[in-house]
């Protein structure tokens, strides 16, 4: 619906049969002229795109619809009419950000107007490709902080779809200044992702992957290697082994479990020659530190300072199960989780995640970013528990899930969040639970129990 400049350009790029409805008769004539040589079967109809009569007059069964009219009310009416005739995918332009929620509620996939290069964004939404849609969480240290969207100098063809800041969805206007903690959805139409990562990363490295930090401190840690391998493969991440003095033997054992295609780095006190077999040289980088340098916290902090927008995780093996666990006594793991500057995954899952559960609070942004990226990579479904007062976050999660084709179920809870989260986790099967550490709404002794006593993996976000 809507054959303006964006609609016209998009029509030229479409790979499937389409029907275009336009209300201006002269534009209809113009479009017929422009598209007369288009090899794709198409029909251009004169009519009001928001009226049910015009929509139902278009012959055929439609898989998707794109609504590009300039008034939100008309666009909303069109969404309702299209739903009535059973169109499963509806992509709609939202002219005023505050109306976005209403569109999402009706089941439409949305983007803000004006953002520039809309046709590219719509094309990405219609023909999704993992390398095209990026989600960036702006971390402290990112050079993008303080720049306007215009000053970022995004490569041509890359479009910012939306920005979530605090509790608000912001329209991506060129003058908007990027701030620490912003969650940005960027759609690209080419393989320009690397350039975008570079813009947001302090080190300016052209890296397209995150890091999975894996400290090898005891034999038990090898139990986590399967999950690390799966995540590294699915997320396209690099594994960073951290070897305290005297644990080089563990690293030699660990190498046998890792697929040869997965790159890794090593941070160790030993030299490369002491740990790597000549026949198995896959190490991208060997960083040698003295004994004092092998401090988990400082390694994590150093890593996070980079401001890289990729998924960086520290993965640790699960502690031994004890039925008499006392949540009052802090273990080394508890202290590590509490003080960690980066997300920590307590590994217990040996296969790709299918079900992820998370608690959405009124400041969730980083957790949403992590959950979406992990679910997108592993094909898992996200169940988000949410209190009614935080429903804006749910809309945001749904919006991202639509763009990245992740299945999301929002479960509204009325009672106590801690009790409801524990009940949900125990009553249904989940592979991964994600929560924010130190959140006021959640009882930390119960969250510690999740870390120590649950049967699935737990991702604790700082």
């Amino acid at each position: 619906m809507g054959g303006g400049s964006v609609g016209g350009k998009l029509a030229l790029d479409l790979k499937d049969e389409f029907v275009l409805i336009e209300s201006d008769p002269s534009r209809v004539w113009e479009l017929r002229e422009v598209l007369k040589d288009n090899p794709i079967d198409h029909e251009i109809i004169h009519g009001d795109g928001s009226s049910f009569t015009a929509i139902s007059s278009a012959s055929g069964k439609f898989d998707a619809a794109v609504i590009l009219m300039n008034k939100d009310l008309e666009n909303l009416e069109a969404v309702a009419a299209l739903k009535k005739i059973g169109v499963s995918r509806i992509i709609a332009r939202v002219n005023r950000t505050e109306n976005m929620a209403r569109f999402i509620e009706q089941g439409a996939e949305v983007f803000n107007h004006p953002i520039g290069y809309e046709e590219g964004l719509i094309r990405t939404m219609l023909y999704p490709d993992k390398s095209h849609a990026l989600q960036i969480f702006v971390r402290e240290g990112s050079p993008a902080i303080g720049s306007t969207i215009h000053e970022l100098g995004l490569p041509s063809g890359a479009v910012i779809g939306s920005i979530f800041r605090g509790e608000r969805m912001m329209a991506p206007e060129p003058s908007l200044v990027i701030k620490n903690g912003d969650l940005i959805a960027i759609d690209t139409v080419g393989k320009r992702a690397k350039k975008i990562w570079k813009i947001f990363s302090r080190s300016g490295k052209v890296e397209s992957s995150g890091h999975l930090l894996f400290p090898l401190t005891r034999d038990r840690d090898l139990m986590a290697i399967k999950e690390i391998e799966i995540l590294a493969k699915k997320l396209g991440s690099k594994i960073v082994f951290i070897l305290p003095p005297g644990k080089e033997g563990l690293f030699i054992a660990a190498q046998g479990f890792i697929s040869k295609r997965i790159p890794f780095e090593v941070i160790s006190t030993a030299s490369e020659q002491e740990c790597i077999l000549e026949s198995d040289r896959r190490v991208v980088r060997w960083k040698r530190l003295d004994k004092k340098g092998i401090q988990m916290r400082s390694i994590m902090s150093e890593h996070m300072k980079d401001g890289s927008p990729h998924v960086d995780l520290m993965i640790v093996s699960s502690p031994k199960y004890s039925p008499f666990y006392l949540p009052f006594i802090s273990t080394n793991l508890d202290r590590m989780v509490e003080n960690a500057p980066m997300p920590i995954l307590i590994s217990r899952c040996q296969k790709p995640y299918r079900e992820i559960i998370m608690y959405l609070h009124n400041r969730s942004a980083f957790e949403i970013n992590l959950a979406i990226q992990i679910a997108r990579a592993t094909g898992a479904r996200i169940t988000a528990l949410i209190k009614a007062r935080n429903s804006k976050r749910a809309l945001y999660l749904q919006r991202f899930a639509q763009v990245y084709k992740v299945k999301v179920e929002i479960v509204k809870i009325v009672g106590n969040p801690t009790v409801e989260l524990i009940r949900e986790v125990k009553e249904n099967h989940y592979d991964l639970v994600i929560f924010k550490d130190g959140l006021r709404e959640l009882q930390m002794s119960q969250m510690r129990r999740l870390v120590h006593q649950w049967t699935g993996s737990v991702l604790v976000v700082p």
Partner: protein, 423 residues
């Protein structure tokens, strides 16, 4: 009993009263007193709002007005006895509920976001405050409990004042809420221990058993959530038709009340501890409080405050000694807050140190709790209790007013320079 019969009873009572001038005291039907309390409880919020006072102050003031009127009639030879067993029980239940609510309002998680230096500063200010508050009364030979009462602060009054001014989430608001919370809790603990200290070795047992019992109960509740989440979900679900949440909370309060009595502590401390335990274990207290608040703040607590006021007469204040005591209480209260806050430069600016000391001067819940504890232990007589309650009411009227005056001058400047603190 219908409303009509209550009115008839009231008429008959008044006729009897007029006949019995100069004669023996007339006991009024408890339902008539309850009716009077209910009407006063209904009017109190309108009255308080009109005078921009906290509602509890309005409730106590109404009680004091009735108490003064009865005292006046007594002096004129008309004796009316408003004491009733039923009201006594309801009032005690109101007090228990109040202590539970105060306990529930505490949020120790706020302490986590403080640096070690800030934690020491808070500890220093609170300890110095109690020490300074106690000294003058010990010198004058008055009971120690009065000093402990004066050293307290009322989070229930501090919080609404900050909220009204929109500064509860600033750095200043955050710090003052923490100070008020800790002073509130510390005062109630100190009051209970000072009364229990009469017991010698028993006090030592109490001191050891209290944290042990608290940790055991916390562990038990924690295990219940982990192993029986479905059951706990029913209890914490506000939409549960059988109101299991309210029933279980009420049962827990009464059990704690009895438990505290059993181990030789002030019984109300049990209800208070129950509130702290619930606050610590459930974190998100909204759904539970939303069910319990109407019963507490709408029914039982107003009965307690109004009925408490019945025992107080302003006429007593015409005694110069009483007036002097009232002034002494207010002065000690202010000095005990001003000195440690200024000495430690607790807040950034001098004027915010003054403002903070003034706001922390509001003291009602501790006063009411302390008076009740002191009276039951036979340490405080009726007259001193009355003066203490009047001091509590005065502090809630006077100090927030002065605080607003000091703070409003700097508010605009302050809001620009102090970032939001949402920790």
């Amino acid at each position: 009993m219908t409303f009509l019969s209550i009115l008839m009873e009231a008429g008959l009572a008044m006729m009897d009263i007029s006949r019995s001038i100069g004669g023996p005291s007339r006991t009024v039907d408890p339902f008539l007193i309850l009716g009077l309390v209910a009407v006063l409880a209904f009017i109190a919020p309108f009255f308080s709002r009109a005078l921009k006072l906290p509602i509890v102050v309005g409730e106590i003031l109404f009680g004091v007005l009735v108490g003064t009127a009865i005292h006046g009639l007594d002096l004129a030879g008309v004796h009316i006895d408003l004491s009733s067993d039923m009201l006594e029980i309801l009032s005690t239940l109101g007090f228990i509920t109040l202590m539970f609510m105060i306990g529930m309002e505490n949020d120790f998680d706020q302490l986590r976001s403080l640096s070690r230096k800030e934690k020491y500063a808070i500890l220093l200010v609170i300890s110095a405050n109690f020490m300074i508050a106690v000294v003058p009364f010990l010198i004058l030979g008055l009971p120690l409990i009065i000093g402990l009462i004066i050293g307290g602060a009322s989070i229930a009054v501090v919080m609404p004042v900050l909220r009204e001014m929109g500064i509860q989430r600033t750095g200043f608001g955050f710090k003052i809420i923490l100070l008020a919370q800790i002073a509130d809790i510390a005062a109630i603990f100190l009051l209970s221990f000072s009364v229990a200290s009469e017991g010698g070795m028993r006090t030592v047992f109490t001191l050891i058993s209290l944290p042990v019992i608290f940790i055991l109960l916390f562990w038990f509740m924690d295990m219940l959530i982990w192993y029986k989440p479905k059951f706990m979900s029913k209890i914490t679900n506000p939409s549960d038709q059988s109101e299991l949440g309210v029933r279980s909370t009420l049962a827990a309060i009464i059990i704690f009340y009895g438990l505290a009595q059993f181990i030789g502590l002030e019984a109300v401390l049990g209800a208070f501890l129950c509130g702290i335990l619930f606050s610590a274990i459930f974190k998100e207290k909204g759904p539970m409080l939303s069910k319990f608040m109407p019963i507490g703040y709408g029914f039982l607590i107003p009965i307690f405050f109004i009925y408490q006021g019945f025992n107080i007469s302003i006429i007593d204040l015409f005694d110069p000694a009483a007036l002097a005591l009232l002034i002494l209480f207010i002065s000690v209260q202010l000095i005990s807050k001003l000195i440690p806050i200024f000495a430690s430069r607790f807040f950034k600016h001098q004027w915010s140190n003054v403002g903070g000391s003034l706001l922390l001067g509001t003291n009602l819940s501790v006063v009411v709790a302390g008076v009740k504890i002191g009276e039951e232990a036979g340490i405080l007589d009726e007259k001193i209790s009355g003066i203490l309650i009047l001091y509590g009411v005065t502090s809630c009227i006077l100090f927030p007013l002065l605080f607003k005056r000091v703070f409003k001058k700097h508010l605009e400047n302050y809001m620009v320079h102090e970032p939001e603190n949402d920790q």
